[in-house]
């Protein structure tokens, strides 16, 4: 190789230098970014990093009262599962229960007390301190109390059970206001009323689906939304495959196939509002065919003679031999059970319908029998009252009171009447007339929007409380809910807010409501219960019992089957049978369709709409996500030339909405079904301005016996607007196209 000139050498060195610099820079580039290692300042005792701990508490996503257990790691809640030892959930959870974590960690939670500075409803809120907030409320109320206008203070809350209910009652009682009411759209008031009439007991029996052989459901979506879905699902699984060589049968009667209808062996779409008639028709067939051998069969046949299958068949538009067959199966099976709920129990005939269904249970002789309707003798705790539940009628009275200015202070806790009452009854407008509306809520919904003062409440995963599941599980049960993580934000558990308000108001309130915190109150009450009633089987001292109860999250007496009321005489039942045919708002000629709003397993009455997981969960029946839709029968749709996604104008005597159409093969022609839950004007980023709320066009009819809202008794007219909208759903082609996906066709195992 020839010798290198000086100039070249320098160039080579230069090149090398450039390379070296590049190399160093590369090294800098690939270097990991600095991570910090932050130690605890003072480690909590039950803390070890990387290992999960589980805390038991109670789910509050619906009123079933499932026991849940929450997985905690490094002080954060990671997962909700069913509490294995809890008799209601038995270790299982529904989708809504799982999504409880979205409630806890929801980005749209209210973080501090807020005061409305603009005019009502405008939503100009400013942060204030708790002292400020509490003094405002406390001062106002105590003044009213002194002026002797305590009864102008109203407390409206969502369904509350256990000792929180007692706390509320005590608070209002001491205040001297008799106006403590609960309002929950899903509350089965009609069923209770019917049971009062038929059996003389004001409670929900334990429907022992688990041991039933034949389940006849009149509109009750027991797997999705009715009373205690998780418990019912467990029971359903057992009914199907739990017993060797014996598979229970289920029949569902409803105009639009619900989750339970989908799982039923037989789905019967009776004409809406005639479910009660059908029940009586079946009863008639049973008695008529001499399958009921009670001493009182003559009275029954007299009472039922007007409802011969042929007549009923005509009215319900159900083939007569179907009625006869169902009647046969119902009476022949060892343990048959009939339940009613959903739309069937939400007509102007709701109570009459449920009474008719109760009659069926009586005729099947399943009362207080395994696989039948078993009555709890509310023996768990004294604290399960339903007396405070406001019917629709009572809500109307409240609205009048507000309108007429009788209401000075309205305390609203964890309920959203502005959303779950029809627009036309004017709850929203009435709120403007109230001098001081105080909303206790974790989220910003339509009702808090109208408030003058918002007190942020901690979620159920951060609060103390207890609960007695209703309906029970056949034996005494009570569950404790405890905070599973340190509370987020500057919010307080409802109970603590009440106690603090009591302190603010002064007088005898703080004296008798002396507890420092909800925790203390609950523990105190449990001590009382513990001492007052000899808890058989617990011979240890209270502290030990308390610790055990906390650990288990539930206390109960399995095996100690309740001795419910003895089977009542049929006289009252027979007397109670009235013609159960629902009346509808709007004439059939002008309003061709029956509106069938239904609770969804996803959002229930809309309280789940702000949870992203639920928004992203495909609707079980239609696989639609994000938004709402109106279901039409394919044939009807064809006749009207409507395709999926056509925006419909649905008009009822009470108002009208615009909503995209969805062709749903399992719905009765002449019925248009709309899910409840979407259509929030407020309620956080995930729910706001999404879909429509069918309750708004529900005519304010009510059941004439219970005074509950007849939300399934509205007729509507449907017409296409010509506009279209892309309905988001996961399902592609929902037919098997002859492919053997659901199993080999040949064998019938």
């Amino acid at each position: 190789m020839s010798k290198i000139s000086r100039r070249d050498l320098l160039q080579y060195i230069g090149a090398g230098g450039i390379g070296a610099v590049g190399g160093v820079l590369y090294g800098e580039g690939v270097q990991r970014k600095v991570e910090l290692l932050i130690p605890q300042v003072i480690p909590p005792e039950d803390y070890s990093p990387g290992v999960a701990t589980w805390y038991n508490t109670v789910c509050n996503q619906c009123s079933a009262g499932c026991g849940i257990t929450v997985r905690i790691r490094e002080g954060q809640a990671k997962k909700i599962e069913g509490n294995p030892v809890h008799p209601v959930s038995q270790g299982r959870t529904c989708a809504r229960g799982q999504a409880g974590l979205n409630v806890l960690y929801n980005p749209d939670r209210i973080k501090t007390p807020l005061q409305n500075v603009g005019q009502t409803g405008a939503g100009h809120f400013v942060d204030i301190s708790w002292d400020e907030a509490l003094t405002t409320v406390g001062g106002r109320i105590s003044r009213l109390k002194i002026e002797g206008k305590a009864s102008s203070v109203r407390l409206l809350t969502g369904q509350v059970r256990g000792h929180l209910d007692e706390l509320f009652a005590q608070f209002m009682g001491l205040l001297g206001s008799e106006h403590y009411q609960q309002y929950d759209f899903t509350y089965p008031g009609t069923i209770r009323a019917a049971n009062r009439i038929s059996f003389g007991v004001d409670q929900l029996p334990y429907y022992d689906i688990k041991n039933a052989d034949f389940l006849l459901s009149f509109g009750a979506d027991y797997l999705g939304t009715w009373l205690s879905p998780v418990h019912h699902s467990l029971a359903y699984g057992h009914l199907r495959q739990g017993r060797a060589g014996q598979r229970g049968k289920t029949v569902q009667i409803e105009p639009r196939m619900s989750l339970s209808g989908a799982s039923a062996d037989e789905w019967i779409a009776a004409r809406p509002g005639t479910e009660g008639l059908l029940a009586l028709g079946i009863a008639n067939a049973i008695v008529g065919a001499g399958r009921y051998l009670g001493s009182d069969r003559d009275q029954w046949s007299n009472a039922l003679q007007a409802y011969s299958p042929s007549v009923v068949s005509g009215k319900t538009d159900i083939n007569e031999d179907i009625i006869l067959r169902v009647a046969k199966e119902f009476s022949e099976n060892k343990s048959s059970l009939a339940i009613a709920g959903g739309a069937a129990a939400a007509g102007t005939n709701a109570v009459a319908t449920v009474v008719a269904v109760n009659a069926l249970n009586y005729l099947a002789g399943n009362l207080n029998q395994p696989g039948g309707a078993i009555f709890n003798s509310n023996s768990a705790f004294s604290a399960t009252s339903s007396s405070n539940q406001a019917s629709f009628q009572e809500m109307l009275e409240l609205i009048d009171a507000m309108e007429s200015g009788e209401v000075e202070v309205l305390l609203v806790n964890d309920t959203n009447p502005v959303f779950s009452l029809p627009d036309n009854v004017g709850f929203r407008k009435a709120m403007e007339k109230v001098a001081l509306v105080v909303a206790l809520s974790s989220f910003h919904d339509e009702t808090t929007q109208m408030a003058d003062l918002i007190l942020p409440t901690s979620t159920y995963l951060e609060s103390w409380g207890d609960d007695v599941p209703d309906p029970g599980v056949g034996f005494p049960v009570a569950s404790i809910s405890q905070p599973v993580i340190a509370k987020l934000y500057d919010a307080l558990p409802v109970g603590d807010i009440v106690l603090q308000m009591a302190r603010q108001i002064g007088g005898e309130l703080p004296v008798s409501m002396h507890w420092a915190s909800m925790e203390e109150f609950i523990k105190d009450r449990w001590r009382e219960e513990y001492t007052s009633r000899a808890f058989d089987g617990e011979d240890q001292d209270f502290e030990a019992f308390w610790r055990a109860a906390l650990e288990a999250g539930v206390w109960g007496q399995p095996g100690a089957m309740d001795s419910g009321p003895s089977v009542p005489s049929s006289a009252s039942m027979i007397a109670a049978i009235t013609d159960p045919e629902s009346k509808f708002a709007g004439s059939e000629s002008d309003y061709a369709f029956v509106l069938h709003p239904y609770l969804t397993a996803t959002f229930l009455d809309g309280r789940g709409a702000n949870l992203p997981w639920l928004q992203e969960m495909p609707d079980p029946m239609t696989s639609v996500v994000y938004g709402s839709w109106a279901e039409l029968n394919p044939v009807t749709a064809d006749e009207m030339g409507i395709r999926e996604g056509d925006i419909l104008d649905i008009e009822s005597p009470a108002g009208s909405i615009r909503i995209p159409a969805l062709i749903f093969p399992a719905i009765r022609p002449g019925v248009v079904a709309i899910p409840i839950g979407q259509g929030h004007a407020e309620y956080g980023r995930y729910a706001k301005d999404r879909g429509v709320n069918p309750i708004n066009i529900v005519a304010p009819l009510m059941d004439d016996q219970s005074g509950d809202l007849a939300w399934a008794a509205t007729r509507v007219k449907v017409k296409a607007t010509g506009e279209r909208l892309h309905i988001i759903k996961t399902g592609g082609v929902s037919r098997t196209l002859g492919r053997q996906i659901l199993g080999p066709a040949n064998d019938h195992a």
Binding site: G732, V733, S734, R735, R739
Partner: protein
């Protein structure tokens, strides 16, 4: 074989080298526009996609493969006739090859590069693409040799290398010619390129021998490459992909579109570099005949596919087929049938076969047809597989469309650069075809 009388050796050099040595503003404008086409339509959207994720494209859960892959196949296909054709024709030593094979091979090279780029664009995490090469690494992890994609990586890289060598070797004497015709830096550069070619008998002999060897070597390679590409699809169970006919189908399609591509390129060379003298009727005619033959084979295979599907009679295949023929993309399907099966039949008449303009139109139509063919294969089959409830749908997003357009920019840019660096017609082979001249002429 020369339409306008036979040129002298000197003229050949002059005509062809002038295209390299003399560069007018037209060229720069053209180059600039193609480069900006590539930059704006291909690279900018791609960079955007790299930042946000492949979600920028229109693909979704049911159609995870999209336009990127169909374009990948298209470009691989386009690459086919270049090297393959030139090799075949070289062995069968048909004289009319000599003036077109250089640019044909260049076409191979550049469409392969474009195709490779599409793989990169397709990948979700292209920054880890090296994991798919069998490079020894500390993690002790190797690629999965059972994966058809792995076959692909192998096949394409081999093919790329082989055709590069092939074209380079073929142009060594011409590099020498350039060296002799030029001065200064270029001269030194081409001295390197030409490996100091001096044109001794020995060198000529070695070259000829090596060239023939490579020609033979490249043919099976070319065939294998597209067969392997087809296996990416055929090895899956997806209805519409799962056909044993796929390998020959793809190869035929590839050569088909490639040949059509050559016609287009010929046309351009002729027009813009005025090579009328070297690229003449005879080439057009023979290419035309070749195209007819290919189109017939192609149609046959399509019919065969329909038949085997119908005969197989499984719900899956039938559904896939019926969707292809009557579903949303049916218009595209029939357009493909029209352009690739019927339009070429026009070339049966000499009038059309001998007209440059008509041939240009036909060749373009064929390639449009082939482009859509690949798109249909990808877009209609895999969104509708076995579980009807999971049936989905695919429409390309604007990003995919723009990248597709941009890819042509890349191809053209490379080609434009090529014609300035390599004699786009083989000097020495053209000279071989010249009748020897009298000394005193």
């Amino acid at each position: 074989m020369f339409d306008h009388g036979q040129p002298t050796y000197a003229e050949v050099n002059k005509d062809i080298l002038s295209t390299m040595l003399e560069t007018g503003p037209k060229y720069w404008i053209l180059l600039g526009s193609t480069m900006s086409l590539a930059g704006i339509f291909f690279f900018m959207p791609w960079i955007y996609q790299l930042f946000v994720g492949v979600g920028a494209a229109g693909m979704n859960h049911n159609a995870v493969w999209g336009t990127y892959l169909s374009n990948f196949i298209f470009w691989i296909g386009l690459s086919h006739s270049g090297t393959l054709l030139s090799a075949v024709l070289h062995i069968t030593n048909s004289p009319w090859r000599k003036s077109i094979y250089r640019s044909a091979e260049a076409m191979t090279l550049f469409s392969l590069i474009t195709a490779a780029l599409f793989v990169m664009v397709h990948l979700g995490r292209v920054w880890f693409v090296h994991w798919s090469f069998p490079i020894p690494n500390q993690m002790g992890l190797w690629p999965n040799f059972r994966s058809p994609l792995m076959f692909d990586v192998m096949a394409i890289t081999t093919y790329l290398t082989a055709s590069t060598i092939f074209i380079y070797m073929g142009s060594v004497p011409d590099f020498a010619a350039v060296r002799d015709a030029s001065t200064g830096l270029r001269r030194r550069l081409y001295a390197v390129f030409s490996f100091g070619w001096r044109g001794t008998a020995r060198e000529w002999h070695t070259l000829g021998w090596a060239y023939t060897f490579f020609a033979v070597f490249v043919i099976p390679l070319a065939v294998s490459v597209h067969s392997i590409v087809s296996w990416d699809f055929a090895l899956s169970a997806v209805p519409g992909f799962h056909h044993t006919i796929f390998a020959p189908y793809f190869v035929t399609g590839a050569i088909y579109s490639g040949t059509a591509g050559i016609v287009t390129v010929m046309y351009c060379l002729r027009k813009f570099l005025n090579f009328e003298r070297y690229i003449g009727q005879v080439h057009l005619d023979s290419l035309g005949k070749l195209l007819i033959a290919l189109s017939l084979i192609w149609s046959y295979i399509n019919v065969l596919e329909l038949f085997s599907t119908w005969y197989g009679g499984t719900s899956f295949e039938l559904e896939a087929l019926s969707f292809r023929m009557t579903g949303f993309y049916a218009p595209l399907y029939w357009e493909m049938i029209l352009f690739c099966a019927f339009v070429p039949l026009l070339m049966l008449t000499r009038k059309i076969r001998w007209s440059w303009n008509k041939m240009l139109v036909i060749s373009l139509l064929i390639n449009i047809g082939m482009l859509t063919e690949r798109f249909i294969i990808v877009a209609t089959s895999q969104p509708r597989k076995f579980l009807p409830d999971a049936f989905g749908f695919y429409v390309p997003s604007w990003i995919e469309i723009s990248i597709t357009i941009g890819s042509f920019g890349i191809f053209m840019t490379l080609f434009l650069i090529f014609i300035k660096w390599v004699p786009s017609i083989s000097l020495y082979e053209v000279k071989e075809t010249l009748k020897p001249l009298r000394r005193d002429a």
